[in-house]
Amino acid sequence: MLRHWLRKTRYGAQAAVLAALGSGVAFASGPQATPSIFAPASTPAAQINSVAYFVLEITGAIFFVVAGLLTYVLIRYRARDTDDNSEPAQIYGSNQVELAWTVIPVLIVVVLFLTTARMIFAIQDAPKPKSALDVTVVGHQFWWEYRYPDLGIVAANELHVPLSSKDSPKPTFLKLLSADVDHSYWVPQLSGKIDLIPNHPNELWIDPLQPGLYYGQCAQFCGVEHAKMLLRVYVDTPEEFAAWVKNQQQPGVQDPSVAAGRRVFETQACMNCHAVRGTAATGRFGPDLTHLMSRDTIASGVAPNTKENLRQWIKDPDSFKPGSLMPAMQLNDEQLDQLTAYLATLK
């Protein structure tokens, strides 16, 4: 475990060195199961990583100096059995010394602040290139809604973004909104976090340089199932992304063999909250299910998207996510089977 972590730290150290040398791509980490902030895979995360190492070096140096002094003082000036009963010399202070240990920290603060300020502006005010993809993220108790305004796509819980590269940058700019309470968007390998606050739109950008699946989760307490509001960001190659977009733009599959299940969906309360494009179901409170089966997981990353899990989720959402806002609809076994069969066609 520790070794694992140290290895990651070494990546980070390399990144810091490279960044300090001003060389181009200062990070090579691909996606990892443990989403360490020291394994950046996107420019903002790498920039944070480099400033983090700089600050670590300075604070580390301060620590060794002061802790060293403390250790020295404790050993050197400990009371000894050989001491006589007299008191040590009383020294009341020294203005020169006070001045010295005021001025030195001031200088350190100046250096730290200027370095930090530069990075704040570099990341936060980075210009948005024309090639950028826009995605609107809406936080809900306890799931994520993704809207691609230019592509006409509404998805949920699993964000797909294109791979970016040095030569053809394709960053993704996220606009973050909330439908209910405060949430926070944090995928450590891709960028720092930013909160989703009602009535207060925020922005975040990433330009992932390694394809794969990146993990994160909601980082602002948002209610009972805050812990199970997981984030999954799929960084697709251009071909994969184009294929994904094409599929997502289709309306829901209309398969007559599962008409019974669709009837359950549309006559029970499902469609009050869920939408399937191309059908009567246009609910907005829950995730859009038009392409449910294109997702690897259900319930915001909580369980693999298998037929068994889907059936169990519909039957009793609390068995996966106690306190989730999806109600158990009290369907009988036949209805559950029909409904699951219908949902399984929504590729």
Binding site: V109, A117, D182, H200
Partner: protein, 569 residues
């Protein structure tokens, strides 16, 4: 050179010692209880504060242990998510408002009048009122476990986090009355806190004995004055915000009701305008304790007294302008982020001055490693680390990663446990003899110290790592494949070690109260006025008003050949 208008301080302090024999005859239990309930004596109220805080420390500690058991393994089912959320909310609220605030004001209450040679606080009845109101607020908070459910079922308590971000606290998202109990309990304890803060400021400014100019006040008193002034400023926005929240919930207000156009951000600002200075309200008394204990056991006067006063005032002042470093992720402008980065880093300067002055005080001394001193040494070391991780968090881009992660949890527990609780333990070993007339047992004390400090480091050193590895706070469980499991197990084990250490401390108190060594008036050979009277001091503290000629009146008394007032500017 001191001015020579003050008489030789030695003689009047002799008269301060009360030599009348104690009244004979045992009182009944009822009489004793009655005397504690109706008391307006600052010492009894101080002890009540400390006892009350210690009781809730056990409650909050039990909640912490339950939280740690739940988090020891991924996908654990020890606590349900609902119960977990209540526990972490109650743990935070309890430790800040019912433990930290009460114990520090207990110390202030007990020691400020004694140290300035006064017979009581400026407003003894207000003092009693403040304590009982605070105590009632705590009971109200915990009554929510029974009564917070309202009409919505049984078993409820606040579950919105101790920061209670809007709009999660709106009735739409938090039905029932648990949130109301939380808000009202904090308003009520706030009244008590403001009363005590007012009292301490008034006492220090108006009740000092003859010869004690402001620049001769013990640093403990100075820091408590600064602390109380800061309290007066910070509690107000919290109370205002709680009232607005209740107006939203019951009178149809829209301050924080985002669905009607209210501002969630406004709550966050209000909360941290209170919340950040609150951290300093809690940590300043730890400095105050260090300012007394470190010189005594180094056998030297505090180094740089005026600088320490200035640094305390500076910290308090700057701390009022740093609140939005809790808000780097809410989406402020880059200029605001830069401003709050700078202001936060600036706090490090006066704080650094304090650490250096403590080191310089020890430098050239003869350090006695009593349990009390060991705790204060650990305090300096741990506060250094807490300060450095604070600098890391002030770097707003890095904070975008670290904010709300376990790194932050580790950082602020380093402050709250590693600095504040550790210093409070040191202070308890130091002043327990004064308050009870008995020494705390040093052997048990060493066990307490080493187990607590080792447990602390096992828990909170390791806790930084899962934060770096992406683990956010306030989660009742986590995915098994994230690689956080082993680390969390270690953190939990450290928590249990600390729990055992606290139980040893309680045992030490019980044993020492019954059969501890007699303390005498001045067991540590110390220099401030509280050691000039008997242990425990009589109701009126000093039989005659002492007259002092320097910052260390008892030093002058013990070393007439080389008194301080010759050197103090």
């Amino acid at each position: 050179m001191a001015d020579s208008t003050f008489p030789n301080p030695a003689a009047p302090i002799h008269g301060a010692l009360d030599l009348t024999p104690p009244a004979l005859g045992r009182r009944t239990l009822l009489e004793i209880l009655h005397s504690w309930i109706v008391t307006v004596d600052h010492k009894k109220l101080g002890l009540l504060y400390v006892l009350y805080g210690t009781f809730f420390m056990l409650v909050g500690g039990a909640e912490a242990i339950a939280i740690r058991i739940q988090l020891a393994r991924p996908n654990n089912h020890f606590l349900s998510p609902q119960v977990y959320n209540r526990f972490f909310t109650m743990h935070g609220t309890t430790m800040v408002f019912l433990v930290g605030m009460t114990i520090i004001f207990g110390f202030g209450n007990y020691l400020v009048p004694l140290m300035i040679g006064a017979r009581d606080m400026a407003f003894p009845r207000l003092n009693a009122f403040s304590f009982w109101v605070t105590a009632f607020g705590g009971l109200l908070l915990y009554y929510s476990f029974l009564g917070g459910s309202g009409l919505y079922g049984v078993g409820n308590a606040p579950d919105v986090g101790w920061f209670a971000y809007a709009p999660l606290t709106a009735r739409a998202f938090s039905p029932g009355h648990a949130t109301d109990y939380w808000a009202i309990a904090l308003i009520v304890t706030g009244f008590g806190t403001v009363g005590t803060a007012l009292n301490i400021v008034a006492t220090a400014f108006c009740m000092r004995c003859k010869g004690m100019t402001l620049m001769r006040m013990p640093l403990f008193v100075w820091v408590m004055v600064v602390d109380s002034a800061l309290t007066l400023i910070t509690i107000t926005p919290l109370t205002a915000a709680q009232i607005m929240l209740l107006i939203d919930r019951y009178l149809g207000g829209h301050f924080f009701d985002t669905q009607a156009g209210g501002s969630a951000l406004a709550w966050i600002h209000f909360f941290w305008i209170f919340g950040h200075p609150e951290v300093y309200v809690l940590v300043l008394p730890a400095f105050a304790i260090a300012n007394e204990v470190i010189p005594t056991f180094s056998r030297k006067a505090i180094f740089g007294y005026p600088a320490m006063v200035a640094a305390s005032v500076g910290i308090a002042f700057v701390s009022l302008g740093v609140w939005a470093h809790h808000m780097f992720t809410v989406g402020m402008t880059s200029a605001s982020n830069a401003f709050f980065t700078l202001s936060t880093m600036i706090v490090g300067i006066p704080t650094g001055i304090k650490i250096f002055n403590w080191l310089a005080t020890m430098w050239g001394g003869r350090i006695r490693f009593t349990t009390s001193m060991l705790f204060l040494i650990a305090f300096v070391f741990q506060f250094l680390i807490a300060g450095l991780t604070g600098i890391m968090l002030s770097v707003s881009p890095w904070d975008w990663q670290l904010h709300n992660s376990y790194f932050v949890i580790a950082h602020f527990h380093y402050v709250l446990v590693g600095a504040i609780i550790t210093a409070i333990f040191g202070g308890m070993y130091y002043w327990f003899p004064k308050a009870t007339g008995r020494m705390l047992d040093e052997t048990l004390g060493k066990w307490h110290f080493w187990l607590f400090t080792i447990g602390f480091h096992v828990t909170f050193d390791v806790m930084h790592i899962p934060g770096i590895l992406g683990m956010p706070r306030s989660i009742y469980t986590y995915e098994a494949n994230r690689g956080w499991g082993t680390l969390n197990m270690i953190v939990s084990i450290g928590g249990i070690i600390q729990g055992i250490a606290v139980l040893i401390f309680l045992w030490n108190i019980i044993v020492s109260l019954r059969s501890g060594k007699e303390a005498g008036n001045d067991p540590w050979d110390a220099w401030t006025l509280e050691w000039a009277t008997s242990s425990p001091p009589p109701d009126y503290n000093f039989a005659t008003e002492p007259v002092v000629g320097s910052r260390r009146p008892l030093w002058d008394l013990k070393h007439p050949e080389d008194p301080d007032w010759k050197y103090e500017a």
